[in-house]
């Protein structure tokens, strides 16, 4: 519990909801990050600009924090390059196969009361918890 931040996390979560709502209000799109990236990898005409600009907004936000509050990128975990590559492959493949990630299913989908998203969120939470259990308690905390 050393890093417990309920207020900051609640406020940050509300901003996430606000950004997602703005994308829906203005462009009629769901703020599912894996879907937004995936759509850029198999582009269709007239459907790429908003995706690229949304992602540019994400990176620009990250740049702001890199300059003014880099501590938001500091609580790291001990993972080898191989483990990170495997993690990235699983996240990329899994989110495209399952049509969504924490944002698309976990935030937008659950808010819409989508049964698919509720089930997907439960499943990725469970497999995430099992994975961390194995790494932290059976493999000594690093991989």
């Amino acid at each position: 519990m050393e890093h417990f931040t309920p207020i900051a996390s609640l406020c940050g979560g509300m901003l996430i909801g606000l950004g997602a709502a703005l994308l829906l209000l203005c462009d009629g799109k769901i703020a599912g990050i894996s879907g937004i990236v995936g759509g850029l990898l198999s582009p269709t005409a007239g459907d790429t600009a908003w995706r690229a600009l949304f992602l540019l907004g994400l990176v620009t936000g990250g740049l702001f924090f890199t300059v003014f509050a880099p501590q938001v990128f500091t609580i790291a975990i001990s993972r080898s390059t191989g483990a990170l590559v495997l993690a990235g492959l699983l996240v990329g493949f899994g989110t495209r196969l399952g049509n969504g990630c924490t944002s698309g299913h976990g935030v937008c989908g659950i808010s819409r009361f989508s049964p698919r998203s509720v089930v997907a969120t439960l499943i990725f939470m469970i497999t995430g918890i099992v994975t961390v259990y194995i790494i932290n308690h059976l493999l000594g905390g690093s991989l």
Binding site: I33, G57, I75, L84, V91, N99, S103, H105, R116
Partner: protein
């Protein structure tokens, strides 16, 4: 241009939310998932805040017939549970616990220049390409393409066939 600018601002606000909430800290993400260890429930508050705001605004916004700068709402309509959804979510969760990143925070963290996040995002994009390849070769055999429901809900709009991202 307005729609592109709005997407940029939405992404910017989203990134601020991710950074402030702790989602860009892999150590906080895995501490949230470490239910049987030194559990940090912070990220539950992220979900509560995001869902509280979006679930209300979603319903207000969907009263409109169309978005401000687009002709229709692109919202998923499926409600069936299939093996792809379950398997995909399971694989994603394993990767999330292994790397401590999900797609949004990973892309936001690219600006930090940390080696770990650059490796992760490169592998994530490779995984998405790999999915497209596997989908084309094995998951969608040469038989007629599976019928997909249009994801467009508004009545007056043309059907839009596309990936049904949640």
């Amino acid at each position: 241009m307005n729609s592109a600018l709005a997407a940029f601002v939405a992404g910017l606000i989203f990134a601020f939310g991710l950074a402030i909430s702790g989602m860009t800290q892999p150590g906080k993400v895995t501490a949230f998932l470490d239910l049987f260890g030194n559990w940090d429930p912070s990220l539950a508050f992220v979900m509560i805040g995001a869902i509280a705001v979006y679930s209300i605004l979603y319903r207000i916004i969907r009263h409109r017939t169309a978005p401000l700068f687009a002709t229709f709402f692109s919202v998923p309509t499926r409600s069936d549970l299939d093996a792809r959804l379950l398997g995909g979510a399971a694989l994603f969760g394993i990767g999330w616990g292994l790397g401590g990143f999900c797609p949004g925070p990973a892309i936001t963290s690219l600006a930090s220049g940390h080696w770990s996040v650059i490796v992760f995002v490169a592998a994530m994009v490779a995984g998405m390409f790999l999915y497209q390849l596997v989908d084309k070769i094995w998951l969608q055999p040469s038989a007629p393409a599976p019928q997909r429901e249009p994801r467009v809900v508004t009545a007056t709009t043309p059907a839009f066939q596309g990936p049904q991202d949640a």
